[in-house]
Symmetry: D2
Subunit: 419 residues, 4 copies
């Protein structure tokens, strides 16, 4: 028995999907202890936008450690933090005229979401937060109440309160989805509806874990208007699809909306060391008193170092332009699967694409076969029926092509086997 079988909790999951022991990694490839290489279309669940062990980041971290740069600092001021913040301000916020403040609360996405929910409730004096079907926001009790999936929810062991779920934008009927928001407005206006305006609406522009469901600009604008009309906070959870994933820094760039809070994590730390950050509009931020939401690991200087390096990718257009080109490659290689009827739908935006194969069993078989063939891939969506394609944005086109070929063949193989 391996040490994992002997001593690791029964809760382990990816260890079962990818039953090997990994040793090294670089950009879009991981290598296991038998020397087998895997192309990575999973990117650490959307963390590794800039590839595994990004050379520039690793070197900056090593340099920092070699000169004894402070590693752990809670929410004290450090040079590494100042430089990250300045770069983020210069590269991301200033060009968008975003006056937002940066809040570091704890290095996980769920912590960012909890802090956002807390502030929205505190500032409005309201309890209820509206989240959306298929949404995923984390595992701690507050965030879990906003996560829609019943498998996660039931594990809480207590009732999940003060969050209600509305349907996310319907892919085939955008008009009905706009009307649904209008109906909410009607209910909020009626003092006898039994429904009151919420503290916040919390939404992913693209539901990643939920099955790569993409919200339209119109729906996002209507949602922002609904929030503003009723004094509710708009929280965009950009944890999985921000940081360049869609071909621009924020997933909502170009939509003409300005969220009150943006939650960031995963890619923001650059290389996969933990980091999370909320962007909070100053009008809202003033509702925080010092130290009301704390956390030991707020001062992740290695993440500031690597995260600062990541921001340099947004100083020119090269990486972001590449996202569009690579997305086109994905679409062109996989389009035949839709045409030939092997899959129901290929959807997504930028380098987050979902291949709906119709059932969780089929998807699981494809994942397993891909893994055997040297490709790492994850499933998402209701029942796990959507294959999620989120390679590092820095993936070389050759790896992308090779991975897509494995995937396409695996889908066909499983489909034929099932037929």
């Amino acid at each position: 028995m391996s040490i994992f079988e002997q001593r690791e909790s029964n809760i382990r999951a990816y260890a079962r999907t990818y039953p090997t022991v990994f040793v090294t990694a670089k950009n879009s490839r991981q290598v296991d202890d038998k020397g087998k290489e895997y192309i990575d279309f999973f990117a650490g669940a959307g963390v590794l936008n800039f590839g595994h062990n990004n050379d520039r980041m690793v070197q900056a971290m090593i340099d920092y450690m070699q000169k004894d740069g402070v590693l752990h600092s809670l929410d004290m001021q450090t040079q590494a933090k100042a430089e990250f913040m300045q770069k983020f301000s210069d590269v991301v916020l200033a060009p968008r005229n975003m006056p937002h403040r940066m809040q570091f609360m704890g290095p996980t996405g769920t912590n960012a979401v909890e802090a956002a929910m807390k502030l929205a409730r505190k500032a409005t004096g309201r309890y209820e937060i509206i989240a959306f079907g298929q949404g995923f926001h984390g595992m701690t009790l507050g965030a879990l109440a906003a996560t829609a999936n019943e498998y996660f929810r039931q594990a809480s062991g207590v009732p999940l309160l003060h969050v209600s779920h509305e349907p996310f934008e319907h892919p085939h009927d955008p008009e009905a989805s706009l009307q649904a928001l209008q109906q909410l407005a009607d209910l909020y206006r009626d003092p006898s509806s039994g429904v009151k305006p919420p503290a916040a609406f919390m939404v992913e522009t693209i539901q990643a874990e939920g099955g790569v469901n993409v919200a339209s600009t119109e729906w996002m604008q209507a949602l922002e208007k609904l929030a503003k009309d009723f004094g509710s906070i708009l929280i965009v959870d950009d944890i999985q699809v921000g940081c360049g994933r869609t071909g621009s820094y924020f997933s909502f760039d170009g939509m003409g909306i300005t969220p009150d809070i943006v939650t960031l994590a995963k890619g923001v730390g650059g290389v996969g060391t933990p980091m999370a950050m909320n962007l909070v509009h100053p009008d809202l931020d003033k509702h925080w008193s010092p130290g009301e939401h704390t956390g030991t690991f707020r001062g992740q200087n290695l993440s500031f170092i690597a995260g600062r390096e990541a921001l340099t990718y947004f100083e020119d257009d090269e990486l972001m332009n590449g996202v569009g080109q690579k997305a086109n490659v994905v679409r062109s290689v996989l389009a035949p699967l839709v045409e030939e009827g092997s899959v129901k739908k290929l959807r997504g935006r930028g380098l987050i694409l979902g291949l709906d194969v119709g059932s969780g069993e089929v998807a699981a078989k494809v994942v397993q076969r891909c893994f055997q063939q040297g490709l790492m891939l994850g499933a998402c969506g209701s029942g796990g029926r959507v294959l999620k394609i989120i390679p590092p944005l820095t993936i070389p086109e050759s790896d992308l092509q090779e991975g897509l070929t494995i995937l396409r063949d695996a889908v066909r193989f499983v489909m034929e086997e099932a037929a």
Copy 2:
């Protein structure tokens, strides 16, 4: 205006207590951007048991990165993780005959606490968890319900449910505290008391944030018995006082108790990169289904590397023996303050010691003066009236002496000023 004043959230706190910008750090010293050195009696809120930028750990991390060791891996299997687990099993669990499983859930303490609460509720089918007055367990909604301090609690913006607080062991009346547990047993037995046995009791053996309140062996044993008698889970939150802080790996070593769950974080990652781990008794662990509590940053390989290095300190007695010796130094230098009446009480165990100066204002002034004199120190307890002394366990005796002198003089100075 600095970038912090321009762009960081109003919630920042330590940045205000220690108003400078830190650049480098080594063992028990930090240096700011003006070259001023500070002796560190705070150790990153109890994280840096092995000192800032521990040489052995930093070198191991650099070596790992230079050979392209996988940095980010969710809960997949990696060599670095295997080696950490094997070492933890060999050095910590096996010698204590602890059959516990290791659960990695997300790298923050609050996440560890949330996972523990979730499992306790899920396994027992009960909702209520008993935590204790002055206890601190984290900031996310589930953990926050267990945190006692009203300043943190009110920020939640919603009612904090399904946790009740009982008084922690009373320092001056241990007999009454044992009776209080007995009274709980009576209430649990009576079907008309309105009170039912809880899912779990969650306790710190030494309440660190709560003011360095130390539970006795007798009380901890009585609590364990109470839990066992009523089918409740015993959770020991050893996040701040585990990992050697008290002179032994666990703070409950030698008490003759075996918690069902031990939550670890802070020091377990060795050097201050985030990591958390729950130790879960196998009988309880089987209530987890795969993936029920997930998290992006479960696979912190740099933390596994540094954390494994930290475990080597427990392969012999040197560091742990030093804890006792250094604690004696602290006590001998500070004892006169109690004798001369400057402070009410010096309490603690191992290298977590608390100096109760009677009021939060006095404590704040002492902290400020120490900082001016080159010593970093934090306040804790009700109203912040207790100065908490938690230097790195690896602090050189000279730094310890120097820091204690600054502290002793600062207390006297503030007391005289107030008189």
Copy 3:
């Protein structure tokens, strides 16, 4: 100052709308202490279907008291109770092949609703109950969570949990309302919607307090199907519109549905002495253990006596036929108001009719003027903009005509004044 001003709580409400002291009452008329007579279109908020101080009932009560019939009996067996139950079984349940059990819980509507909610939750193991916008179900904490009106809800002082409100059938778009139920079914089927099937749906077929909103047969059937498909309990709250109000004993007669629970109160006791009763399907009733929901005033023998007398009105068609005829009178006298544009809408079924005058201020003025002219009338609906016409079913046609003339003239007067 009157004793009311001196000593009654500030919460009194109808005392302000009808500022006089009533002394006697008979059928559809009340007389105050100045000898002024009032025609009653309010019927004690729907209690007095058989008129004030119904002669047959009063005589039966006096006879019962004169022979020392047991007055108070908790849930013990009495002759008066047996005779009521037998009559109810013979006249109401048996002809409809309803196998339902009668539960007496406490003599108020809110108690009936609480017992129904409790049983639905207990039997299904689910918490959530779906109630509807504009619905009114009572004032105690469980029932209040189902009551939609924010004025009542905010008075609770605590969050109202475990009830969600869906929109009631839309009067102008029945098709959309059917689709809305279909969408709920879709959400219940999707394990990632964040929404689960409820313990129960609780609905009034005609929302009385909510503004005389009438559900269609099609919608009620779809709702019953939705409940059955997902193992949810269907509760019809017939407290205000049952007992003959709509021209048949139950308001849902003829709809082809069979609720799992029917809540009855108000009219069931006949003469206005308190009584409530739930009809519970035997398959559901077996989930009650003896004494799980108790109450001191379950054995209201005067109400059994008068209530039994009330049931004799359903042994032939006379009263029920009269309901239709009188409803026609109401409609014909008030129709001109709609035609001439004074009111927006006259709606209802049987002898519960609502006149939407467009605003709460207008309605309040009409109520006040009617009272001056000798007609008692109440307002309901969002903001109180609907005048509710619910005279005793036994009202003589002359009183009905006289009252309607007062009402019609008052509406015109107020409208002209406003113009």
Copy 4:
């Protein structure tokens, strides 16, 4: 099968304890359909302080009905209500200098309790209410949260929130009970205790359903002080032990305390027709807005008529003096049972006395044997081990003696059988 077996809900309880059909009743006797007479030591669960079918009350009710007095009037003003209020003011409130307002909310005890809890929360802006172990306050969701008995609580089907239970005064250690209140004060003062001052303390001076547990004057005074010190409302639930049961109108008369709210029901209506009334201090009553807590059956004129008659019993000392004399009779007849060891304890105050027979099975056998011998009696307390003696206050001494003899013999019989 009787109609009860055919058609009544499985929830029926007293019907099983007293398996006969009652027909008539007068003062302390009930007669069944076989003509068998039963002496009543149960008094309709404490309702019938003035006996079954009290002649004066019945005659007043008949007179009222014969002259067409308004029977049902919601919260409108009626002559019957004015006369009741005036009499209550004159006989009860004025002599005690109580400035309290009378609130009529719905005719059941649970409704009175819900209204009291609602007002306390609304006025203080706090959620939590402290109730006491063994306390009984009703069955609707808010009141049920305050009821301690787990059998009732579990039937709710949802978590019971926002009420915590503290132990009631301990019969054998009054000093410890006073200290327990002091400890609560300490916790309320400490911002890190995890415990905040409640909206209200709700207490019965004698826990009737809870086992005839009697609070001392000292403890009640300490509780009142605790409430006042922390801005909490003091609610005395006098539903079962008020209205003369203890030998004075209120159970707390002579204790030197003034509750903010007194809940009354049961005996206040005189003859067993439903009625409830809260007495609310004017400073608190102003927090009610008109109509915030409504109810159909607030205007119970038959209860006002009978209740007014009941108040005449308090215009002189005859009845109240008799309570003491009769209590002495009970004590002298039953004392030998304690002396000879058949029962553990005879406790109580006025004409509510409890005989602790050590187990619920023994108590149930005694109840059954008494019923066979012609005495009705109920059991209460944890597990139903306490026989509760609450005859009408108007019971003739001959009936009292006869009933006591039956009871004493039954206890001895059951004890001997068990030996």
